[in-house]
């Protein structure tokens, strides 16, 4: 078991954003989380990555308890994520965006940095080469010196995933990667997600509104509504679940 969430509950003041969320994730799986706006999907990502601390419940990753750990510690354990609304380091270069994700892997201390001795030079060269290699895997090497806010939208999405991958994760959390994409781009994105999964031997959790994407690539889907899990199963099962239809389309009217 790679990730296990047990009875995770989170309140914002009096509002219950997530209630009794359970998830068992095996290594190599691709699981989707869907649900209407405000159902608590992104909150779950924020709980797993330590941005919020769960009010109740446990989250275990690779046998380590995550609740109470800082986000950077959780990232170092091997969980990376992207954001619903792209959150690149906008004024920094594409290369620096990826190099920052290498932060915890750098092996020199502040004194070595201030006076440029010891492992400093060697580590700096290593991180540049590694970041450039990453960029070339994601076909972004030609933009390395570009300020990241100047990239076209699709490449910003791609860079955000490249940056997340540069932290060397075992588990990748994708928060609405298809937001703002047209159907053609979504097909490309599906291929792309499948490809990074193979390439990096990844486990993925995907939050998405685009049914085409979710139904196309997820093996298992959880449906959330008002913080509660209302259905779980394969894409086929979900598509025919009356509760899911109700959450999305509203209650049926008796004829």
């Amino acid at each position: 078991m790679l990730l296990q969430a047990k009875r995770v509950t989170h309140y914002f003041g009096g509002l219950c954003a997530v209630s009794d969320f359970n998830l068992d994730l095996e290594k190599g799986e691709l699981v989707g989380i869907i649900g209407p706006n405000g159902a608590g999907k992104t909150t779950i990502f924020n709980l797993v990555t330590g941005v919020y601390r769960a009010t109740e419940g446990n989250i275990e990753f690779d046998g380590v308890e995550l609740v109470g750990k800082r986000p950077d510690q959780i990232t170092n354990l091997g969980i990376a994520r992207t954001f619903q609304n792209i959150r690149l380091f906008r004024e920094l270069s594409v290369l620096d965006n990826v190099r920052i994700a290498n932060y915890a892997q750098m092996k020199y201390n502040p004194v070595e940095a201030l006076f440029q001795f010891g492992r400093y030079a060697q580590e700096e060269v290593r991180t540049i080469d590694e970041a450039m290699d990453f960029l070339s895997v994601f076909k972004l090497q030609d933009y390395a010196e570009e300020t990241s806010k100047n990239l076209p939208y699709g490449n910003q999405r791609r860079l955000e995933i490249a940056r997340a991958m540069a932290t060397h994760p075992k588990l990748l959390l994708l928060d609405e990667p298809a937001a703002g994409m047209n159907p053609g781009e979504i097909v490309q994105l599906m291929d792309f997600i499948g490809w990074i999964r193979e390439q990096f031997d990844l486990t993925i959790i995907l939050i998405e509104h685009q049914m085409r994407l979710v139904m196309g690539i997820c093996e298992r889907i959880k449906v959330l509504d008002f913080g509660a899990t209302i259905a779980e199963g394969t894409p086929k099962q979900i598509q025919n679940d009356p509760q899911v239809l109700e959450a999305y389309l509203g209650e049926g009217v008796e004829p």
Binding site: V51, A80, I100, A113, V125, A144, E145, T167
Partner: protein
């Protein structure tokens, strides 16, 4: 590579010149004094830029740190160090003043960084007021009258050496892993956390380094002015340093050097205006914020200051790739 070798040559030339000017009396003593103030102001603006420009926080307490450094150094040279050793002990005195200030910086930073933005500004203002009233109320260090009769130990060569050292060290920091952490906090702190940056550690580090150099500047300042009192380090002094940073440009070392130089020279040129200077300078800040909020150099850097490793990263990587491909085939 555009003549990058010129930079070290210029630095050595500057060093020799800093000796030649006072010995040969190349320019009159008034101009020598202004040169020393320019150096001290460069140290102040570069170190404040680390927190306000590179990290995007808003600290207003820089004059407070300067005061701590000035008092530590002045007490050492007036009370502790015997007169015949003063000259030799001066670099060590400045170093101790910097280290002491860095320690105070650490104490201030821990509560300060539980807050952000406006709140950090308020915490640092409070710090400034605390420092001022502490110094005013301790009779043993002169109380409101301050410390008179400080030996004039700051010379042009020492100012030059400390200025170059400050700029070099802060540049090294900015272009290191930790510096990139600092930048990422400015851009997006949550994303930074989630990219494995230990933001708490990085913030403390930046703040402590900034305080260290403010202390160094304070020590040098006390030994030019030869007299310090709590009133010298009030909110106006902090505002002056802020003007230098925002005039020159946030997130830019070249900007800090430019800002400090322009500000110091302008202050002297406008001296005939007397009190009206104090109206003009804030007005400069107002117009700056409206028409060019990032300052003259805003977020850009003089190419010679950027390590070649960073500047030619993609080029070098490509060459390496081609070389290894050629070797393989």
């Amino acid at each position: 590579m555009a003549k990058r070798w010129l930079l070290p040559v210029l630095l050595v030339a500057g060093f020799l010149l800093s000796f030649a000017i006072p010995i040969l009396n190349l320019v009159n003593p008034y101009y020598q004094l202004i040169l020393m103030y320019i150096g001290i102001n460069i140290i102040l603006s570069t170190s404040l830029n680390l927190v306000n420009g590179y990290m995007g926080e808003f600290s207003v307490g820089h004059a407070g740190f300067m005061a701590v450094g000035a008092y530590i150094a002045a007490l050492l040279t007036t009370q502790l160090i015997p007169d015949n050793l003063l000259g030799w002990m001066f670099p060590l005195t400045v170093l101790v003043a910097g280290a002491g200030t860095a320690l105070v910086g650490l104490v201030v930073a821990i509560p300060s960084f539980k807050t952000r933005g406006d709140y950090l500004a308020i915490v640092t203002i409070a710090f400034l007021f605390i420092v001022k009233s502490v110094f005013e109320n301790i009779e043993a260090i002169g109380g409101p009258r301050g410390i008179p009769g400080i030996p004039k130990l700051t010379t042009l060569p020492w100012t030059y050496i400390w200025t170059v050292l400050t700029v070099w060290v802060i540049r090294n920091f900015v272009y290191s892993n930790f510096g990139r952490g600092v930048l990422s906090i400015r851009e997006d702190e949550i994303a930074s956390d989630l990219m494995s940056v230990n933001t708490r550690q990085v913030k403390l580090l930046a703040f402590v380094i900034s305080a260290f150099f403010a202390g160094v500047a304070g020590a040098l300042f006390a030994h030019v002015l030869q007299f310090i009192s709590p009133r010298v380090f009030d909110i106006i002094k902090s505002t002056d340093i802020l003007i230098m940073v925002y005039l020159g440009g946030i997130g830019s070392i070249a900007g800090s050097i430019l800002g400090a130089t322009i500000f110091t020279v302008l202050l002297e040129v406008l001296r005939p205006l007397q009190e009206w200077r104090m109206v003009l300078m804030p007005l400069v800040l107002v117009f700056l914020m409206i028409y060019r909020p990032t300052g003259i150099m805003g977020l850009r850097e003089f190419r010679w200051f950027i390590p070649g490793r960073d500047l030619f990263a993609r080029q070098r990587w490509q060459q390496k790739k081609e070389a290894s491909n050629a070797a393989a085939s």
